[in-house]
Amino acid sequence: MAAGEVAASGPAIATAREERRTSFAEPVTFALSIAAALAFWEVISRTGVISQRDLPAMSTTFQELWELMKTGHFWWAFADTVRGWGLGLAFATAFAVPIGIALGSNDFAASAFRIPIEFLRPIPSAALIPLLFLTLGTTLKSELFLASFGAFWPLLIQTIYGVRDVDPVSVETARSFGVGRLERLYRITLPSSVPYIATGLRISSTVSLILAFTAELFMGTKGLGQEMNAAQSFGLEVQVYALALATGFLGIAIHLVFTTLERRALRWHPSQRLGTT
C-alpha cells in the first residue's frame, strides 16, 4: 500500500500527552458510541421511520440472535464457516508463501510470471462461483477453492515485496561467510519478510472469510451463508438480520486477531514500525 508515502506523523510528544489525557475517556467514548448507535437503531425501527418489517428493532434482532445461539444448529453452521475460512487461508498460505519467496528471490521467475499474475489477480473470485458450482458442485471443495484462490493473491504479492525488501548486504554477507542457501532462507529472508507476510495474512484472512461466506450463500455449502439464504427464502427477516450480526462479529473477531498478530510482527521489526499501516 502507498500508505507509507505520507506517513510523516506529527510531533510525537504532543500525541503522547494527548494519549495520556484521554486514556480513560477512550473506552467510555467507545461504549457510548456503540450504545448510541444501538439506541438509534431501536428508535428508527420502533417509531416506524423504517417499518419493523424491513428493519426489525435492535432488541428483537439481538433476542433472535440469542435464541439462535442456544441451538446447536447455529454453532454447527458457525463452525462450518470458520472451517471454510481457516482451511481456505491455510491452503492459500501454503501456496502463496513458498511461491512468493521463489518469485521474490529470483528475477527471472519474477519477470516471467509478472504478466500472468497481473491478469489473473484482478479476476474477482466471485466471478468463479458459477464455474465452481458446475464443476466441483456444492461441496466443501468449492468453498475451499474459492476462499484459497481469493486469499492467495494478497499474500503472494506481500510475500514477493517482503522478499524483495530483504537487505541485500546481509544476504551477501551471509553468502560470503559460506552460509548455505537453505540456512540463508531461514535465518535472513524469512524473518525479515515476516512483517510483510503478516500484513498479507491480515488482508487474506478477511478475503478468505468473505469468500467462504459467499460460497455458502450462493452455492449452498454448509455454514452461516447457507443459513442466511434459507432464512431469506423462508421470509424470516429477523433471522437474516441476526445472522448478519453474527457474521459481522466473526469478521471483526478475525480482523482483531490478525491486526494484533501483524502489530507483533511489526514490533519485532523496528524499521517497519512506521512504514506499513
Binding site: 428493519l55 489473473l120 484482478p122 427477516e237
Partner: protein
C-alpha cells in the same frame, strides 16, 4: 510466458474436449459474439453504470466524511467502532438485507450496495492521509487566519490526495467485485446476471466469456485509474523527486 500459458490452455482444452472447459478460441469467439457488441448495451452498460455510480458516491462520501474524521480525534473515537464493524462485515451478508431494506432489486439496491462497501477504503485512507499531515502546517494556516474551508481546500485535500488516490484504487477493484455479487443475487441485467443465467442453463461458453470480460474490466479500470492518477498527482511526484523523502 503469457503466450505459453494461453497456448497450454488451448492445447489442454482441445485435448480434453469437455463442454466445461471450452478452448480459448471458442471463448474468444463467444466473447466477440456477446460483448462486441450485441449484448454490450443490455448487460455491460448497466454494470458499468452501477460501478460508476457506486464508486462515485463512495468517493464523494468517503472524502467528505474522512476529512472531519481525520482532523478531529473525538470524531474518530466516536466513529471508529462503527467503521471497524462494517468494514469487517463480509459484503454478501448484507445482500439479502439490502433488498429488504431498500425494497428494490434494481439500480437503487445495486448502487447502494456497491457504494457502501467501496466507501471504506476511501474513508480509511482519507482519515489516514489527513492525520498524516504535519500539524505545524495546519497550525500555521490557522495562525494566518486562513478560513476553515480554504484551509481544507488548499492544504488538507492536496496533502492527503496521494493517499486518497490509493484508497480509491482499492475501492475501484472492490466495485467490480461487489458489482458481480450484487448482480448475481436477484437481478435482471448486467454481467453478473449473465453469469447467473449461464449457470442455470448449464451453458459454459457465455460463462467463460463473462469471466474473461470481468477480469478484463478490472484490469482496464485499474490501468485507466493509474493514468488519471498520474496526471492529477503529477505535481506531487515532482515535488517528491526534489524533496528528501
Amino acid at each position: 510466458m503469457p503466450i505459453a500459458i494461453l497456448l497450454a490452455w488451448q492445447l489442454w482444452t482441445a485435448h480434453l474436449d469437455s463442454p466445461k472447459f471450452p478452448t480459448l478460441w471458442t471463448i474468444l469467439v463467444t466473447f466477440r459474439d456477446l460483448w462486441l457488441f450485441s449484448q454490450f448495451g443490455t448487460h455491460v452498460v448497466p454494470s458499468l453504470e452501477r460501478i460508476g455510480m457506486g464508486f462515485g458516491i463512495a468517493v464523494v462520501v468517503g472524502i467528505a466524511l474522512g476529512i472531519p474524521l481525520g482532523l478531529s480525534r473525538w470524531a474518530r473515537l466516536w466513529a471508529m467502532p462503527h467503521i471497524e464493524y462494517w468494514r469487517a462485515m463480509p459484503p454478501p451478508a448484507l445482500l439479502p438485507i439490502s433488498i429488504v431494506l431498500l425494497h428494490s432489486i434494481g439500480n437503487r439496491q445495486k448502487v447502494a450496495f456497491i457504494g457502501f462497501f467501496c466507501l471504506f477504503p476511501v474513508l480509511l485512507n482519507t482519515i489516514d492521509g489527513v492525520r498524516g499531515i504535519d500539524p505545524a502546517l495546519i497550525e500555521t494556516a490557522r495562525a494566518y487566519n486562513v478560513p476553515r474551508l480554504e484551509r481544507i481546500r488548499r492544504l488538507v485535500l492536496p496533502a492527503a490526495a496521494p493517499q486518497i488516490a490509493a484508497g480509491m484504487r482499492t475501492s475501484l477493484s472492490l466495485a467490480v467485485i461487489t458489482m458481480v455479487l450484487s448482480e448475481y443475487f436477484s437481478s435482471t441485467s448486467g454481467v453478473g446476471y449473465v453469469l447467473l443465467i449461464s449457470k442455470n442453463t448449464f451453458d459454459f461458453k457465455p460463462m467463460w466469456a463473462a469471466i474473461v470480460l470481468i477480469g478484463l474490466l478490472g484490469y482496464l479500470l485499474n490501468v485507466l485509474f493509474l493514468i488519471v492518477e498520474r496526471r492529477l498527482l503529477a505535481w506531487h511526484r515532482g515535488w517528491r523527486a526534489v524533496a528528501p523523502a
